[in-house]
């Protein structure tokens, strides 16, 4: 199938011999809008970082657009859970978003098209009025929007969003999910979130991750089930009723 964007086969990740991901297999297709839920420490961020080639699996295979993640990750738009950067760094919002183009504009100047893509991305997240601000002079939520714009500016084929809505106000959250609805025409989207309500309203498929990944390419669980049972291990939450068999995992 050539509309596969990301493909993980039997991926294991260990940190100091502690398994963090166990035998995870998943395929993300072109128009997928996938939500990943799971408890803290369940391995959600690690999973995204494996897709990006930032974490090397100890076993298993990762393909991005049929190739190495190192090579093809420039087609991925990534919004990390935490960005590691210096708040006092002398850079303004516009230039931060432009760095989203830097991979495509490697070793050449930014063209007008690069600048236009960055401009449009800023507009999409409603941050145009702030384009000349130094990055540290924004609120946390505003900064998160800038990082979303930075990911969009790359013109990605897939967006990986690690709790992008954390710290974003209610109005912007609605707008944000509506923006994602529009974007999914053009790209695959994988979103990690603890906001199960929002997830269950907007995404097309849900995966549950707690070291092991439970994913059947559908949204088979109702929000009520999830809300009621989220305190339990994820295998029980999502699959307890329809897939009793999974208890044996």
């Amino acid at each position: 199938m050539n509309d596969e964007v990301i493909n993980l086969r039997n991926v294991w990740v260990h940190y100091d011999s502690m398994p963090v991901l166990e035998d995870v297999s998943i395929t993300v297709y072109q128009h997928d809008f996938l939500g990943i839920i799971g408890p803290n420490g369940g391995g959600k961020s690690t999973l995204l970082r494996v897709m990006l080639g930032l974490v090397k699996p100890s076993r298993g295979e990762v393909r991005v657009l049929g190739g190495d993640p190192e090579h093809n990750r420039r087609y991925i738009g990534y919004v990390p859970q935490y960005s590691l950067f210096d708040i006092n760094f002398p850079i303004n919002v516009r230039d931060v978003v432009l760095t989203g183009r830097a991979g495509h504009a490697l070793f050449r100047r930014y063209t007008d098209q690069d600048k236009e893509l960055a401009y449009n991305a800023l507009k999409m997240v409603d941050m145009l009025p702030f384009e000349n601000r130094q990055i540290g002079e924004l609120s946390g939520g505003q900064r998160q929007r800038v990082f979303i714009a930075r990911a969009l500016a790359a013109g990605p084929k897939v967006l990986l969003l690690d709790e992008p809505a954390a710290g974003i106000d209610a109005r912007m959250q609605t707008e944000f999910y509506e923006l994602l609805e529009k974007l999914k025409e053009k790209m695959a989207i994988v979103i990690v979130s603890h906001d199960i309500t929002a997830i269950s309203i907007y995404v097309d498929t849900i995966a549950c991750l707690n070291r092991k990944l439970f994913y059947h390419g559908s949204k088979e669980i109702t929000p009520e089930d999830l809300m009621a049972t989220y305190q339990c291990p994820v295998e029980l939450i999502a699959h307890g009723v329809p897939h009793r068999v999974l208890r044996e995992h």
Binding site: L52, L54, R73, R74, I76, Y78, P80, S83, L84, F85, D86, N88, F89, P90, I91, N92, D95, V96, L98, T99, G100, A102, G103, H104, A105, L106, F107, R109, Y110, Q134, R150, A154
Partner: protein
């Protein structure tokens, strides 16, 4: 000031100050914004090995420093990535290894080492023409690389992980940046010496950060400040017969402190006023 220009060595000293200002003004900005002051300290101190080698081989030590400082830059950049050694341990090891090698070579060199002190603490009044040429060529190299890679350097210094994800060879470019620091060290050796290099790599950039939020403007400003500090220091050391390297460093430090103090007073009104 005009009449002292009649002395050839003064003209050389001014040229050296300007060439040094260009290198440290540009590269110092990266050192400060990427917070790699300690790494730069490691590179500059380790470069002392090259000076020792120069004495031992009877070659211009400034030339000998180039391979040495580049090698230390690359080692610092690679060791912590390839091994489990943490970055600051790696810096500490390479820092002292380089210095130890330098001392070893000097002690193996017959006779005594003339103007060793000037390589350690700088002596801008004795820069030979041949070294000016080296400094000029290194400046040209630094300006060219920064001009060509400005956008990539901005991306990796701001957010290295994102830069990697977006498809920039971030680690390779980081090594290039460390090499530029190594070359800047070479340019600065004659002016402030390997021990005091860090002052010129940090103070002008830190001062210019007060005046702008734009990396490019910061570079221009910090070239200006570096030149101002070096030339003021040079003049004072000449007029008062003080060692030039430390005078330049002290002038920079005093200006920096005054600016900080002034800023502090202005921003925070005294308690009684609140």
């Amino acid at each position: 000031m005009i009449e002292i220009l009649q002395y050839g060595f003064m003209v050389n000293a001014l040229a050296a100050a300007s060439l040094a200002a260009i290198a440290c003004g540009i590269i110092g900005v990266y050192v400060v914004v990427k917070r790699i002051v300690f790494i730069s300290g490691g590179i500059s101190h380790a470069s002392f090995g090259g000076i020792g080698l120069g004495y031992f081989l009877g070659i211009d030590p400034v030339l000998c420093v180039i391979p040495f400082s580049i090698a230390s830059a690359l080692s610092i950049g690679e060791v912590s990535r390839r091994t489990k050694v943490s970055e600051d341990s790696a810096i500490g090891i390479i820092w002292t290894m380089g210095m130890a090698i330098g001392i070893m070579f000097i002690s193996l060199t017959p006779g005594y080492a003339p103007d060793l002190f000037s390589y350690l603490f700088g002596n801008i009044l004795t820069v030979p023409r041949s070294d000016l040429l080296i400094m000029l060529l290194l400046d040209i190299a630094i300006i060219t690389v920064v001009y060509l890679l400005y956008k990539e350097f901005l991306a990796i210094t701001f957010d290295e992980e994102f830069a990697t994800v977006i498809g920039i060879p971030a680690h390779k470019l980081y090594l290039v940046l460390l090499c530029l620091i190594a070359l800047t060290v070479v340019v600065l050796i004659r002016v402030v010496g390997v021990i005091l290099v860090i002052a010129l790599l940090t103070i002008p950039a830190a001062v210019s950060r007060r005046f702008t939020d734009d990396l490019r403007k910061m570079m221009v400003l910090s070239i200006f400040f570096a030149a101002l500090f070096s030339i003021t220091g040079l003049y004072m050391s000449y007029a008062l017969d003080l060692p030039s390297g430390s005078t330049i460093v002290l002038v920079s430090g005093i200006v920096f402190s005054l600016l900080e103090l002034f800023r502090h007073v202005r921003r925070n009104p005294p308690l009684s006023a609140v």
